[in-house]
């Protein structure tokens, strides 16, 4: 008979026993702390560097009238000591109030609601496109390791991460709009076209919800080129990363087991290799997504895309602290949220993780 030690068998469920709820709570709490830490850093850095929001927003000439300067400072709380400014900002932030933008003179939350969906729309398309192409090319690259397809894909992906995105945008705009006339001009819709009724802020989704197919087509045509340009860098990153993770997993004993079972190579790759590789690829994609949001600054500039990047640019140039903080908060929150989602996914998908952590 087999000894007792050979009979260990534990049956655990995914969401219980392994401390799933405490894990989520702990992660949420650290995330909130992280976000406040970020506000503190952003605040300190923008205070440490000398800048003059008054001159930036009202022009040097405003100084001829001290009353205007004083009124401006009072309006935005700039007359108070820095730490009071921060405490005020933080206590408002808890209530979901991000203050008034110095450059647009509107509540930052209102601004973000308007600009963020525009960026989200191109960033979403970009990241899905990049995931698709990146996983495909990266896997091919790993399977054909060191052979010609791998070498070609390597050069291709390195070129992707080496292209200055503002130049790619400009070149794409010139070729596809000016030369070929395939792409529509800049902006989210044709000049003078009415945006669909605001529900999500994503024009394509809103148009579909409204049953307005021609607006959907127009909105989609407009966002395609900026989204693809934005995706170029992420394609490069995800291709290289997929190649590395697939190669790493190919070296595992369990892949040799799968091959020893005589499974077709396609099944081995899809079921035994890509599934575990997907976890780390999604992690990187999550991080890449939040950098796409920030990276849209340069693309939006070329395509006159009224998104977060353009807003961030105006806020930066105007030394508009609430505006800069608002954009940073959005991007940082998404970054943290992505990491959180990925961690949860890890625990759901990978039983090993679930039991070990």
């Amino acid at each position: 008979m087999k000894p007792a030690s050979d009979r260990r068998f534990s049956s655990r469920k995914i969401f219980s026993g392994a401390g799933f709820v405490p894990f989520i709570v702990r992660r949420l709490l650290t995330s909130i702390l992280l976000i406040f830490g970020i506000t503190l850093i952003a605040f300190s850095i923008t205070q440490l560097v000398p800048g003059d929001p008054v001159a930036a927003n009202l022009g040097q000439s405003a100084y001829s009238d001290p009353a205007i300067v004083a009124a401006f400072k009072k309006q935005f709380g700039l007359d108070q000591p820095v730490y009071i400014q921060y405490i005020k900002y933080a206590s408002h932030l808890v209530k979901g109030d991000m203050g008034i933008s110095l450059s647009s003179k509107r509540p930052v939350t209102t601004d973000l609601k308007e600009y963020f969906p525009a960026t989200l729309e191109i960033a979403l398309i970009a990241i899905f496109f990049a995931l698709f192409i990146g996983i495909l090319l990266g896997t091919i690259s790993a399977i054909t390791r060191d052979r010609l397809p791998d070498q070609i894909i390597r050069v291709f992906s390195l070129t992707g991460v080496s292209m200055p995105v503002f130049w790619t945008a400009l070149t794409a705009f010139y070729v596809f709009f000016f030369l070929l006339g395939w792409a529509p001009g800049s902006g989210r819709l044709e000049p003078g076209a009415d945006p669909p009724p605001h529900k999500t802020g994503l024009y394509t989704v809103d148009a579909l919800l409204n049953g307005d197919f021609s607006t959907f087509k127009q909105a989609f045509a407009h966002l395609l080129l900026p989204a693809l340009v934005l995706a170029v860098y992420a394609v490069g990153v995800l291709t290289r990363f997929t190649r590395a993770s697939v190669l790493e997993i190919l070296g595992n004993d369990y892949v040799r087991s799968a091959r020893a079972k005589g499974l077709p190579e396609f099944t081995v790759i899809r079921r035994h290799v890509l599934r575990p590789a997907l976890l780390s690829i999604i992690t990187v994609a999550g991080v890449a997504f939040s950098s796409l949001l920030a990276g849209s600054v340069l693309v939006e500039n070329v395509f006159s895309w009224p998104g977060l990047g353009q807003y961030a640019y105006r806020a930066a140039v105007g030394l508009d602290l609430p505006g800069i903080m608002g954009v940073s908060m959005v991007v940082a929150t998404i970054y943290i949220l992505m990491n959180l989602i990925v961690d949860v996914l890890y625990r759901v998908i990978d039983p090993q993780m679930r039991d070990l952590k």
Binding site: K2, S11, R259, K261, L263, R275, P276, Q352
Partner: protein, 327 residues
């Protein structure tokens, strides 16, 4: 006709410093329902021999010679022909059950996927055979086990599952690469007993690879000892263990705990096993051999038959006298 006849098998691997032969002119055979043990230190080419039978050599590795399986040459197989052989006719289990099962797939998937592919059976009947298999390898509560992941089992249980996986398509040959090395001694015995039982019940041929002669003594019919990619001695288990004729075999046996009995020549093996691509000329063992003569480094030794079933690759046969006295 033997189930497996290997003739002049040579395996070449690509290393960072160029090509190197991991297996050199190896010939052996294995009958139906026979258990052959292949033993040797790490780097002796045992595992590469096994992988070459399955067409699973590592990146840029290649095999030459002849391997007849059931009378059919398999070294010249295409990728597709190998796929139809692997898992179906020749199955393999690996050293570390902690890593050889996929951590993210359920036991059911891993037990049935090749069955469904090779035998084209539907999900339900594959499931039924999986349940039977788990029962064969003595996994308690097979129905619950099917839904579980490998992490939920101990090492010994996982190796049993790996064996069940290997048996799914009723292969004729099972290659077990160090199947018990990573396990506790008490668990080892259970696995070895299971393998023995499978041979008796199914007339399964088993090729078991290990560096531990103790594991082989109770299980195998015949043993082949390898050193630096070549055979040094082979014979029936009892002949070889009681009457080792090659200095290397003798050294291995002497190194076993409790092996140094009276009347046996004690030869300790000095030095380290050679690295791949760094094998000595002539008899590769001569730098470490206590009996080595000048001629040993000159030419590769030829087989010397001790009896019909026992041979060594050592022209000097230095242990002859002492053994004769001992007997």
């Amino acid at each position: 006709m033997k189930l497996l006849e290997v003739t002049d098998l040579t395996v070449t691997l690509a290393t960072s410093s160029g090509d190197a032969q991991a297996v050199r002119n190896l010939s052996f055979n294995l009958g139906h329902g026979e258990i052959l043990g292949i033993a040797g230190e790490s780097g002796s080419g045992k595992t590469m021999t096994a992988l070459s039978l399955l067409g699973l050599l590592p990146y840029k590795g290649r095999a030459e010679g002849s391997v007849l399986f059931d009378g059919r040459e398999i070294l010249t197989c295409t990728k597709k022909e190998y796929r139809n052989l692997r898992g179906k006719d020749i199955a393999m289990i690996f050293q570390d059950p902690m890593t050889s099962l996929h951590p993210m797939l359920t036991i059911e998937t891993q037990l049935t996927e090749h069955l469904r592919y090779h035998r084209k059976v539907d999900k339900e009947s594959a499931r039924q055979s999986a349940l039977k298999l788990l029962d064969t390898v003595k996994i308690p509560d097979p129905a619950a086990a099917l839904r579980a992941h490998p992490i939920q089992f101990s090492g010994g249980m996982r190796q049993r599952i790996a064996i069940a996986m290997a048996l799914a398509c009723e292969p004729k040959l099972l290659i077990a690469d160090e199947p018990t090395t990573a396990l506790d001694v008490t668990v080892q015995a259970g696995i070895l007993k299971l393998l023995h039982q499978l041979r008796d019940e199914r007339n399964l041929s088993i090729m078991i690879i290990t560096h531990d002669l103790g594991v082989l003594s109770s299980l195998t019919d015949r043993i082949m000892i390898m050193y630096a990619g070549s055979e040094v001695e082979s014979g029936k288990t009892s002949d070889l263990l009681m009457n080792p004729r090659h200095p290397y075999t003798n050294g291995l046996i002497s190194a076993l705990p409790g092996a140094s009995k009276d009347g046996k020549v004690l030869t300790s093996i000095k030095g380290m096993p050679p690295e791949l691509g760094n094998f000595a000329s002539g008899c590769a063992f001569h730098p470490r051999c206590a009996f080595a003569e000048k001629s040993c480094s000159d030419s590769v030794p030829l087989a010397l038959q001790i009896s019909d079933t026992h041979r060594i690759f050592c022209p000097i046969n230095p242990l002859k006298k002492s053994v004769d006295i001992g007997v």
